[in-house]
C-alpha cells in the first residue's frame, strides 16, 4: 500500500467530522441530557408536607456499601418517622438497591450528578439535604 493512503484516509475522517455535530459537551455552559433512569443523588420523597419515609430500615439493611444511617422515632401521632436519615456519599456506589427495597416508595434517585465538594463532611447528606425540593 502507498504509505500516503492511510494519512489521506485519516485526514478525510477528521475533515468529515468538522461538519458533523460535536460529541463533546461544553460543560458547564452546556448541560448534558440525563437519562430518565440515571442513578444520581438520592432524594427523599414528600407527601402531605412530610417525608414519606417511615424508617423501616430496609435501605440500610440492603445497602451493600453500608452508607445509610437511619434512626427511627415516634411522632406526636405515634407514627414512625426517620428522626435521622443520612447518606454518606463517599461510600455510596449508586446501585439503587435502596430505592428498590423501599416498601413505601419514599426514596428515588435523582438526576443530580454534580456531587463534588471540598470537605469530607459535605458528602454526608442529612435528611434535610435529601428531602425533595418543592
Amino acid at each position: 500500500m502507498n504509505p500516503i493512503t492511510p494519512i489521506i484516509n485519516g485526514m478525510s475522517i477528521t475533515f468529515k467530522h468538522m461538519f458533523l455535530k460535536p460529541v463533546t459537551l461544553q460543560y458547564p455552559t452546556e448541560r448534558p441530557k440525563v437519562a430518565a433512569r440515571y442513578r444520581g443523588l438520592q432524594g427523599l420523597k414528600v407527601s402531605h408536607d412530610k417525608a414519606k419515609c417511615v424508617a423501616c430500615y430496609l435501605c440500610p439493611t440492603v445497602c451493600p456499601a453500608k452508607c445509610i444511617t437511619v434512626e427511627a422515632a415516634e411522632d406526636a401521632n405515634h407514627d414512625k418517622y426517620a428522626s435521622k436519615y443520612e447518606i454518606d456519599l463517599l461510600r455510596c456506589i449508586f446501585c439503587g438497591y435502596c430505592v428498590e427495597a423501599c416498601p413505601v416508595d419514599a426514596l428515588k434517585m435523582t438526576s443530580e450528578f454534580e456531587l463534588a465538594s471540598y470537605s469530607r463532611k459535605d458528602f454526608i447528606y442529612s435528611k434535610e439535604r435529601l428531602l425533595e425540593k418543592q
Binding site: 417511615v54 424508617a55 430496609l58 427511627a72 415516634e74 414512625k80
Partner: protein, 823 residues
C-alpha cells in the same frame, strides 16, 4: 417411646408428646403460631394441620394430637399447603400490612409464614380492625389490630405468671384480647406476653422503634439483679443494650423473665453512668485520669488494719476473690464484708452451724420435683419472681401442696390450695420451733434424727415452744401449727424456701437454723425435691459467700466497719458497688461513719448517694461489659462474656483491683480466666470447673451436708400500744438500689410507699395516696400510703430501695421496728 412415620421418615418420640413435638424433636418443621414450649397445647391457629393416615387422611392439628404408636403422618401434602394458605389469607384479611412500621418486622411469625407460603394476594375482601391502640402504658404497647388471637399472651399470663391480666373478650369476629372491662393494662409488667406474641400486637415500649431485630447482635448473659440466676439474651446494637430477646430454650426457666430482667436493662447504657474517675479537689469532685486516681488510692490503701472494704455481691466471683486477696495479702487487713453482714448470716452462720456448709442443700429444680413447699417469710413472686413462676407451675400442674408462713400475704397466697399462715412479725423462729415441737410430739420425726448431734439439747429447748404457748404470741392457732407440722412431716418430699437480703433484717442465722432443724428433724434434706433453699438477694450473693468475701478470723463485719469509721479506727474505706447510705440500716449512723472516715473510695456505676461523699470515685462497669462467673442462689455457676465495650473510661472491678495490686507491688492475674482457675482449685464444689466446661448452661457446685441440730434463739417481741410493726423488704419491681437506674422498673414503681391494712388505714383515717408520716424512735419519713388487703392489721410494709425516701431513716436494723403513723 413411640414409633411413628413422619413424611416417610421413621422416627421415635417420648410417649407423652404431641405430633408437633415429635416432629420438632426429629427436625421436621411444622408451621405454627399458637404454640410455646412452656404452655399447654391450645390449637388456636390451625397452621399446624397434618394428615394422619389412620385418621382417614383428615387434616388434624398436630399441636393438640398426641403421637401414638404406628402413626403415619404427612406434614406437607398439597391439600395441607392449600389449607395453610387459606388460614394465612384469612389472618391477613384483617391483619394490617404495616410491617415497615411494626417493630416485630423481621421477627414476626406471621410475616415469615406469609413469605414461606408466598401468600401475595387475597381472595377475600374485608375491612381492617379499628381497635384503639394502647400507647399510654410505659412498658407494653397493645395494638389489637395486629392480633391473630393465638391466645399465647392469655395463657402465659394465666399458666405461668398466674396474674391473669389478659383474656379473650367479646365473641365471634369481634373477639379481641383485652383486660377486664377493657380497662388499661395494670399488671406486674413482666412482659411475658410480649415475649411470646407471634406478631406485633404486644410490643415492648422501651424498645419501640429502637432497632430492627436483624440489626441486633444477641449475647447470652446472666441477669444482674436477683439470685435466681436467670439466663438472659441481650440485644445489642452500636454498643448499646437495646432490649432483652426472648429465647424459649434458655435456662431452667425457658426464657421466662420478670419485670426486672426484661425491662430493667437500661442502667447499662444509662446517661448517668460514670465515665471517668473523680477526685475531690477543694471540696468538689472533679474529673481526673485513671493514673492519678489509682496512684492516690494505692497510697491510701497501704494502711494495714486501718483499711476496710465493703463490696456488693454483684461483683463476679473472680473480682471478689481478687479483692479478698488484695485485702489480705497486699493491704494486710481482714476487714471486708458484703451486704451489711446480716444478709449473708443465714448462710455463713446459720447453715454452717446446721449443715456444715454455707450453701443451700436444694436447687431451684427441686421445686417442681417436690410434694410440698413451705415458703417462709417471703412472697417469692416479689423477691424472686421467676422462682414464683416455678412454684405456680408446680402447684397448678403437678398438684404440689403449698404452705406459706409469713408476716404478710402475697401473690403466692392466691394460688389454688395455698395454705397461708400469717404470724406476727418477729414470731417466725418461735413458730418454726413450735412446728418442730409438734412434729416430735406427733411422733412424725424421722428415725435418723434421734441419733444426730444436738438432738437432746433441741428437744429440751423446744419444751417452751408448744404450739399452744406459741399460738398465744404468734397469731397462729395451735391447730394450724399442728396441721402445718403434720403436713410437712408426712409429705414424702418437702422443700423449704426463705429469702435473705438487705431488706430482711430478721432473716438471721437463727431463722436459718430453725428452718434447718425442721428439715433435719424430718429427714427432708439431701434428697431430690427436699431441702432448704435460702434465696439470696443479689445475682452473686451465694458467690460472695462461696468466695469467702466476709469477715473471718477476727475481721470486722460491715456494721462494725462503719462503727470503726466513726471511732476513727478505720481510716480508709473502700466501697465497691455498695450504697450503704440507702440500703444499710440506720441512715444517721451510716452517714456519720462515711463523714467521719478519713478517706472514702467508691467504685460504682453511678454517682450514688454514697459516692457523692467519696474522696475518690472510680467508674466501674456493669455485668454486660465484663467477663466472669456468677453463682446463683442454688450454686449454679454461670459464665458471662462481655456483650458491649466498656462505657466511657470505666473499668471492671477486676481491672481496677489488678491495677491497685500492681501499684502496691504485687503481681495480679492476667485475665479473669486465670483467677477462675485459682477459684476452682481452692473452692469446695468448684473443682474441675473451667470457663469452657461452664458453657452456656453453667454447672452446679455440689454441697456436702453434715446435719447437726442447733438451738435457735427466738426473738423477744415487745408490742407497743398503738404502734404498728414495720416490716421492710423488697418490692417486685426493684432489686437492691441498682434497679433505680433501670427505666422500666422506675416507670412502674417510681417511689417508696407505706403499705398498710385497711383496718389500720381506717383507724388512722388514711386514704390511698395520702402523704403519711411514719415515725419510729430513730426518725420519721414521709411516704405515700398504699392501702392493701394483703397486709395484716398492726403491720406496715415499706420497701427499702429508694434513695429519695430511704427506709433506713426510721429503721435501724432490728427485725421488727415499732412505728406510728400520722397524716
Amino acid at each position: 417411646m413411640v414409633n411413628l412415620t413422619i413424611n416417610d421418615k421413621q422416627v421415635t418420640a417420648p410417649k407423652d408428646c404431641t405430633i408437633y413435638e415429635a416432629a420438632k424433636l426429629n427436625g421436621i418443621k411444622i408451621p405454627i403460631l399458637c404454640h410455646d414450649k412452656k404452655l399447654k397445647p391450645f390449637g388456636a391457629c390451625r397452621m399446624c394441620l397434618v394428615e394422619v393416615e389412620q385418621m382417614k387422611g383428615r387434616q388434624i392439628p398436630s399441636c393438640t394430637t398426641p403421637a401414638t404408636e404406628g402413626m403415619i403422618i404427612r406434614t406437607d401434602t398439597p391439600e395441607i399447603i392449600k389449607a395453610r394458605k387459606l388460614v394465612l389469607e384469612l389472618l391477613l384479611l384483617n391483619h394490617p400490612l404495616d410491617c415497615p412500621v411494626c417493630d416485630k418486622g423481621g421477627d414476626c411469625d406471621l410475616q415469615n409464614l406469609t413469605y414461606d407460603y408466598q401468600v401475595d394476594s387475597n381472595r377475600f375482601v374485608d375491612s381492617k380492625f379499628q381497635h384503639e391502640i394502647d400507647y399510654n402504658n410505659p412498658l407494653i404497647e397493645r395494638d389489637m389490630n395486629r392480633c391473630v388471637l393465638c391466645g399465647k399472651c392469655v395463657r402465659i399470663c394465666d399458666e405461668i405468671v398466674a396474674f391473669g391480666a389478659l383474656t379473650f373478650i367479646d365473641r365471634g369476629i369481634e373477639t379481641k384480647i383485652g383486660c377486664d372491662f377493657e380497662k388499661p393494662l395494670d399488671c406486674e409488667f413482666c412482659g411475658s406476653c410480649v415475649s411470646v406474641c407471634p406478631v406485633g400486637a404486644l410490643l415492648a415500649r422501651p424498645f419501640k422503634h429502637k432497632a430492627r431485630f436483624w440489626a441486633l447482635t444477641n449475647h447470652n448473659s446472666v441477669c444482674g439483679y436477683c439470685g435466681t440466676g436467670c439466663n438472659l439474651t441481650l440485644g445489642v446494637k452500636d454498643n448499646k443494650v437495646l432490649t432483652t430477646v426472648y429465647n424459649e430454650n434458655q435456662g431452667f426457666h425457658k426464657g421466662q423473665l420478670c419485670v426486672r430482667g426484661r425491662f430493667g436493662y437500661q442502667f447499662i447504657n444509662s446517661e448517668n453512668r460514670l465515665t471517668t474517675p473523680l477526685i475531690r479537689k477543694n471540696g468538689r469532685l472533679t474529673e481526673a485520669t485513671w493514673d492519678e486516681a489509682l496512684e492516690i488510692v494505692a497510697t491510701r490503701l497501704k494502711g494495714g488494719n486501718s483499711v476496710a472494704a465493703l463490696a456488693t455481691p454483684r461483683l463476679a466471683n473472680e473480682e471478689l476473690t481478687l479483692f479478698k486477696k488484695m485485702m489480705l495479702d497486699n493491704i494486710g487487713s481482714k476487714n471486708f464484708d458484703n451486704s451489711a453482714g446480716y444478709a449473708h448470716a443465714a448462710l455463713t452462720e446459720g447453715f454452717v452451724r446446721s449443715f456444715g456448709s454455707a450453701a443451700s442443700s436444694a436447687s431451684i429444680l427441686d421445686i417442681q420435683k417436690s410434694d410440698l413447699l413451705l415458703v417462709v417469710k417471703t412472697d417469692t413472686y416479689e423477691t424472686h419472681p421467676v422462682i414464683g413462676f416455678e412454684i405456680n407451675m408446680g402447684v397448678k400442674n403437678k398438684g404440689i401442696k403449698l404452705n406459706i408462713l409469713s408476716d404478710k400475704r402475697g401473690k403466692l397466697s392466691k394460688l389454688p390450695g395455698a395454705n397461708t399462715q400469717v404470724h406476727i412479725p418477729g414470731a417466725e423462729v418461735a413458730v418454726l420451733n413450735a412446728l418442730c415441737n409438734s412434729i416430735i410430739d406427733q411422733k412424725l420425726a424421722d428415725d435418723s434424727a434421734v441419733s444426730l448431734p444436738g438432738y437432746p439439747e433441741l428437744v429440751k429447748a423446744l419444751a417452751g415452744f408448744t404450739p399452744e404457748t406459741v399460738a398465744a404470741t404468734s397469731g397462729i392457732t395451735a391447730e394450724s401449727i399442728n396441721k402445718l407440722a403434720a403436713d410437712y412431716a408426712s409429705a414424702e418430699k418437702a422443700l423449704i424456701l426463705f429469702p435473705t437480703g438487705l431488706g430482711y433484717a430478721g432473716h438471721t442465722a437463727d431463722l436459718a437454723t430453725a428452718v434447718a432443724n425442721l428439715a433435719i428433724l424430718t429427714g427432708k434434706f439431701g434428697k431430690e425435691g427436699c431441702g432448704v433453699l435460702c434465696l439470696s438477694e443479689k445475682n452473686n450473693s451465694q458467690g460472695a459467700v462461696d468466695m469467702g468475701f466476709y469477715p473471718r478470723e477476727g475481721g470486722m463485719n460491715a456494721l462494725q466497719i462503719l462503727d470503726a469509721c466513726t471511732s476513727g479506727t478505720v481510716k480508709t474505706l473502700l466501697v465497691a458497688g455498695e450504697n450503704p447510705l440507702t440500703s444499710y440500716p440506720d441512715n444517721a449512723k451510716v452517714k456519720a461513719a462515711l463523714d467521719a472516715v478519713e478517706f472514702l473510695i467508691v467504685s460504682d456505676l453511678f454517682l450514688t448517694e454514697t459516692a457523692e461523699l467519696a474522696d475518690i470515685v472510680l467508674p466501674a462497669c456493669s455485668f454486660a461489659e465484663k467477663e466472669g462467673t456468677y453463682t446463683s442462689t442454688d450454686r449454679r455457676v454461670q459464665y458471662v462474656k462481655p456483650a458491649i465495650n466498656k462505657i466511657g473510661k470505666s473499668k471492671s472491678d477486676f481491672e481496677i483491683i489488678s491495677s491497685l495490686i500492681a501499684k502496691m507491688g504485687g503481681t495480679p492475674p492476667v485475665t479473669p480466666a486465670v483467677q477462675f482457675a485459682e477459684i476452682s482449685a481452692n473452692t469446695p464444689g468448684y473443682e474441675s470447673m473451667t470457663y469452657a466446661t461452664l458453657g452456656n448452661e453453667g454447672a452446679f457446685a455440689p454441697v456436702s451436708i453434715n446435719p447437726v441440730f442447733v438451738v435457735p434463739v427466738a426473738a423477744q417481741i415487745t408490742a407497743a400500744q398503738g404502734k404498728l410493726a414495720l416490716v421492710t423488704g423488697s418490692v417486685l419491681y426493684h432489686n437492691g438500689t441498682l434497679s433505680q437506674h433501670g427505666e422500666g422498673p422506675v416507670h412502674v414503681c417510681p417511689d417508696a410507699y407505706v403499705e398498710m391494712s385497711r383496718a389500720d388505714a381506717i383507724s388512722s383515717s388514711i386514704n390511698d395516696n395520702d402523704l403519711v408520716t411514719v415515725s419510729s424512735s430513730s426518725g420519721s419519713l414521709q411516704l405515700k400510703a398504699k392501702v392493701s388487703l394483703r397486709i395484716p392489721e398492726g403491720v406496715v410494709f415499706i420497701p427499702y430501695h429508694f434513695p429519695a425516701a430511704p427506709v433506713n431513716k426510721i429503721w435501724s436494723g432490728s427485725a421488727v421496728t415499732m412505728v406510728s403513723l400520722s397524716k
